[in-house]
Amino acid sequence: MTIMQPVGVLSFVALSAVLFALGLYGALSRRSTVMVLMSLELMANAININLVALSRFSAPAEMTGQFFAVFSMVVSAAEIGLGLALVLALYRQRKTVEIDAMQELKG
C-alpha cells in the first residue's frame, strides 16, 4: 500500500471517528465552558465529514448527505451561538466561565 493509493470510504469514516472521539474527550474533560463548546464543534464537524463522505461514495447524484450536512451546520451554528450567549450570561452572573458554576440542577 503506497501513499498514492486511492482512499476508500472507510478511511473517511475512521478519520471521522477519531475526530469525534477527540471532541468527546474534550467535552467530557474540560472545565471551561468555552472549551466544552469548542469540543462540541469538533464532534459536529466529525459527523459532517461522515455524512458527506458516505453520500459521495454511495449516491453522489442525490447529494442527501450534503444537504444534511448543511442543516447540521445550521443547527450547530445556532447551538454555538446560543451556547456562547449562555456563557456570557453565566459570566455576567457568576464572574466565571467554569462549568462548575452551573449547578442549578444539583438536587
Binding site: 467530557l28 474533560s29 462549568i99 462548575d100 449547578q103 438536587g107
Partner: protein, 634 residues
C-alpha cells in the same frame, strides 16, 4: 292535577329568588317564602281533597315524571306520585311549615339575617315536599340530602357562637353516616332490580329474601341516621342550638320523620325480608326507652323535647316493624302537630323567661294564659291522654303490637309510655307552676300565638279521625279497643302522677339532689347521655383525627420520602460513578503513590462536575450498546 308539581316548586322558587339577593333585600322580601308556603298549603289541601276518600298505598291518583338521566337502556326519573300516604304527608308538611313560617315572622323579627333564615326554611320545605311526593328512591334520597343541608344551615344559623357551629357539623356528619348505608342500599337495589321506581321495586319485582334483607337493612341504617334512632341519635339534642321554630319544623315535625316515611315506603321490601322488620322493631323500642329515660333527666327545655322526639320516633319505628303502617304514619302525623306545637310554645317560653333552663323557670301559667293552654294540650297529647291526638295514635300502635303478638315489645312500649308521661309532668310542673323566677313575664305577639292556636286545635280534634285515617290509607279502621285504651291511659296517668309527686307539690324552687342521690349510678349514666357521645367522641372522632394525622405523617415521610429517596439514590449513583472515576480509574492510571493527592483534588469534583458525569454515563452506556451490536452482528 298538574298543580301537584307546583307544591314543591313554589317554596323552591322562593329560595331561588331569595338566595342570590343581598342580605338587606332578602330581609325585605320575607313575605315571598311565607306566601309560597301558604300557596303550597292551599294546593296540598286541594290535592288531599282530590285523593279523598283514599285507597291503597301506591295507587296513584296522579303521577307525572320526566327523565333526567339516561344510562344505557336505563332512564332515571324525577317525578311526583300522589297517593294517600303522600297526600297525608303533604298536608302535614305544608301545615306545620306554614305555621312555623308565620310564627317565625314574629320570633325572628329582630335577627339580622332573617331573610336567609326564611330562604333556607323555604328550601327545606321544598325538599321535604319533593321527598314525600317522590315516585322513586333516588329522588327521595336526593331530597333527603338537601334537607340535611338545610338542617345543617339552620342548626348553625348563629354560627358566630361555638355551640351551634359544632352542633351543625355533628348533625350533618352523623346523619351522613346513615346516608352511606342508604347509598349502598340504593346501589344494591339498582344492581338487583335495575331501577329505583316505586312501581318497579315495590310492586313489580319479586325480592329474594337475602337481597331484600340487604337493601332494607341498609335503608334502615339511613333512616336511623336521619330519624335520630339509637345508636345515631346523638346529633338531635345538640341540634337544638338552632332557632326554635326551625327545631319545631325540622327536628321535630318533618325532617326527622323522613326516616319513618322511608321505612313506610319501603315496607314491601322489609316484609320480603322479614329479618329487617324485627331489626326495625328492636331499634325502635330501644330508642323509645333510651330517648324517654334521657328526656327525664334534662334541664334544658328544648333538650327534653328533643329526646322526647327521639323516643316518639322510636314508637313509629316499632309500629312499622310490627307491620302497622297505618299506626306508624298516623303517629307520625299526630306527633308532627303536637310536637311542633310544643316547640313553638317552648320558643315563646324561652323568649319570655330569657333562659332554656327549666330550673330557672316557674309560674308561667298565671302570666301567659294562651301559651299555657296550648302547651298543656300538646303535653297531654304527648303523654297520651284522651281525647288528644297522641292518645289515639299511641293506642293504635299498641293495638298493632298486641294483635301481631309482640307482647314483649308491647310491655316495653307501655314502659316507654310511662316514662313519657313522667317527663311531660316534670316539664309542665316545673315551667308553669311554682314561684315566678323571671320578672316581667309577658304573652307573645299574635303572629306567634295564632299558629300555636291552630296546631292546638288540630291536636285536640284530629284523634277522632283515627278510623277514617286507616280507611283513607286503604286499611280497615276501627275505634280503639277498651282494654288496651284503658291500660295505656292508666299507665300514662301513673306517669303523670309520679311526675306530680316529684315536681308538682313544691312551693319553692325544687332541689333535685335527693333524687340524684337515690338513683346513684343510673342517674349518672343518664346524665352522661348513656356515654354515647363520649364513646363516639373518643373512639371515632379522636381516633380518626389521630389516624389522619398519622397518615399525613406517613405520606410526607414514607411515601414522599420514598420518592425523594429514589431521587437521592439516583444522585448517589452518580456520585458513586464519580467516586469510581476518582478512585478506581484514576487510581489505576496514576498509581497508588499519587492516589491520595489526586483524591484530595478530585473530591471537589464529586460535588460540582455533575453535568459531565452524566454525559460520561451516557456515553459509557452508548459504548456498551454499540459493543453489543458489534458483537451480535459478528
Amino acid at each position: 292535577m298538574g298543580y301537584v308539581i307546583a307544591i314543591p316548586l313554589l317554596p323552591a322558587l322562593a329560595f331561588g329568588v331569595l338566595a342570590p339577593l343581598s342580605n338587606r333585600a332578602r330581609n325585605a322580601a320575607i313575605w315571598v317564602p311565607v306566601a309560597a308556603v301558604c300557596g303550597s298549603l292551599l294546593l296540598s289541601l286541594a290535592a288531599f281533597a282530590r285523593v279523598w276518600p283514599g285507597g291503597h298505598e301506591g295507587e296513584a291518583v296522579y303521577r307525572a315524571s320526566a327523565v333526567f338521566a339516561t344510562l344505557g337502556s336505563v332512564n332515571l326519573h324525577a317525578g311526583v306520585l300522589l297517593d294517600p300516604i303522600s297526600a297525608v304527608m303533604l298536608v302535614v308538611v305544608t301545615l306545620v311549615g306554614a305555621a312555623v313560617q308565620v310564627y317565625s315572622v314574629g320570633y325572628m323579627h329582630r335577627d339580622e339575617r332573617i331573610g336567609w333564615y326564611f330562604a333556607v326554611l323555604s328550601l327545606f320545605t321544598a325538599a321535604m315536599l319533593a321527598l314525600v311526593l317522590s315516585d322513586n328512591f333516588l329522588q327521595l334520597y336526593m331530597a333527603w340530602e338537601v334537607m340535611g343541608l338545610c338542617s345543617y344551615l339552620l342548626i348553625g344559623f348563629w354560627h358566630e357562637q361555638e355551640a351551634p357551629r359544632k352542633a351543625s357539623l355533628k348533625a350533618f356528619l352523623t346523619t351522613r353516616v346513615g346516608d352511606v348505608g342508604f347509598v349502598l342500599g340504593l346501589a344494591v337495589m339498582y344492581a338487583t332490580a335495575g331501577s329505583f321506581d316505586f312501581a318497579v321495586v315495590l310492586h313489580g319485582f319479586t325480592w329474594v329474601p337475602a337481597t331484600a334483607t340487604a337493601v332494607s337493612l341498609l335503608f334502615l341504617f339511613g333512616a336511623i341516621g336521619k330519624s335520630a334512632q339509637v345508636p345515631l341519635h346523638v346529633w338531635l339534642p345538640d341540634a337544638m342550638a338552632g332557632p326554635t321554630p326551625a327545631s319545631a319544623l325540622i327536628h321535630a315535625a318533618t325532617m326527622v320523620a323522613a326516616g319513618v316515611f322511608l321505612v313506610a315506603r319501603a315496607l314491601p321490601i322489609f316484609q320480603a325480608s322479614g329479618v329487617a322488620l324485627t331489626v326495625t322493631m328492636i331499634v325502635g323500642v330501644t330508642t323509645a326507652i333510651v330517648g324517654g329515660l334521657l328526656a327525664a333527666v334534662q334541664h334544658d327545655i328544648k333538650k327534653v323535647l328533643a329526646y322526647s322526639t327521639i323516643s316518639q320516633l322510636g314508637y313509629m319505628f316499632f309500629a312499622l316493624g310490627a307491620g302497622g303502617i297505618v299506626a306508624g304514619i298516623f303517629h307520625l302525623m299526630t306527633h308532627a302537630f303536637f310536637k311542633s306545637l310544643l316547640f313553638l310554645g317552648a320558643g315563646v317560653i324561652i323568649h319570655a323567661a330569657h333562659t332554656q333552663d327549666m330550673r330557672e323557670m316557674g309560674g308561667l301559667a298565671k302570666k301567659m294564659p294562651v301559651t299555657t293552654a296550648t302547651f298543656t294540650i300538646g303535653s297531654l297529647a304527648l303523654a297520651g291522654i284522651f281525647p288528644f291526638s297522641g292518645f289515639w295514635s299511641k293506642d293504635e300502635i299498641l293495638t298493632v303490637l298486641w294483635t301481631e303478638g309482640h307482647y314483649v315489645v308491647f310491655a316495653l312500649a307501655l314502659a316507654a309510655a310511662f316514662v313519657t308521661a313522667f317527663y311531660v309532668a316534670r316539664l309542665w310542673f316545673r315551667v308553669f307552676t311554682g314561684p315566678e323566677q323571671t320578672p316581667e313575664l309577658a304573652e307573645a305577639h299574635a303572629e306567634m300565638l295564632v299558629p300555636m292556636g291552630v296546631l292546638a286545635a288540630i291536636t285536640a280534634v284530629i284523634g277522632f279521625g283515627s278510623p277514617y285515617f286507616a280507611r283513607f290509607l286503604g286499611h280497615t279502621g276501627a275505634w280503639p279497643e277498651a282494654g288496651i285504651a284503658l291500660t295505656s291511659t292508666a299507665v300514662a296517668g301513673l306517669g303523670l302522677a309520679l311526675g306530680w309527686c316529684a315536681y308538682g307539690r313544691r312551693t319553692k324552687v325544687i332541689n333535685t339532689r335527693p333524687l340524684k342521690e337515690r338513683a346513684g349510678f343510673v342517674y349518672d349514666a343518664l346524665a352522661m347521655k348513656l356515654y354515647f357521645d363520649l364513646t363516639y367522641d373518643y373512639f371515632i372522632v379522636k381516633q380518626y383525627a389521630r389516624l389522619a394525622d398519622a397518615l399525613w405523617a406517613f405520606d410526607h415521610t414514607v411515601i414522599d420520602g420514598a420518592v425523594n429517596g429514589a431521587g437521592a439514590i439516583w444522585k448517589a449513583g452518580a456520585d458513586v460513578g464519580a467516586l469510581f472515576d476518582t478512585y478506581v480509574i484514576d487510581g489505576a492510571v496514576n498509581g497508588t503513590a499519587t492516589l491520595v493527592r489526586a483524591a484530595g483534588a478530585k473530591v471537589r469534583r464529586i460535588q460540582v462536575g455533575r453535568i459531565q458525569a452524566y454525559q460520561g454515563l451516557m456515553v459509557g452506556a452508548l459504548v456498551l450498546l454499540m459493543l453489543w451490536f458489534v458483537v451480535k452482528g459478528a
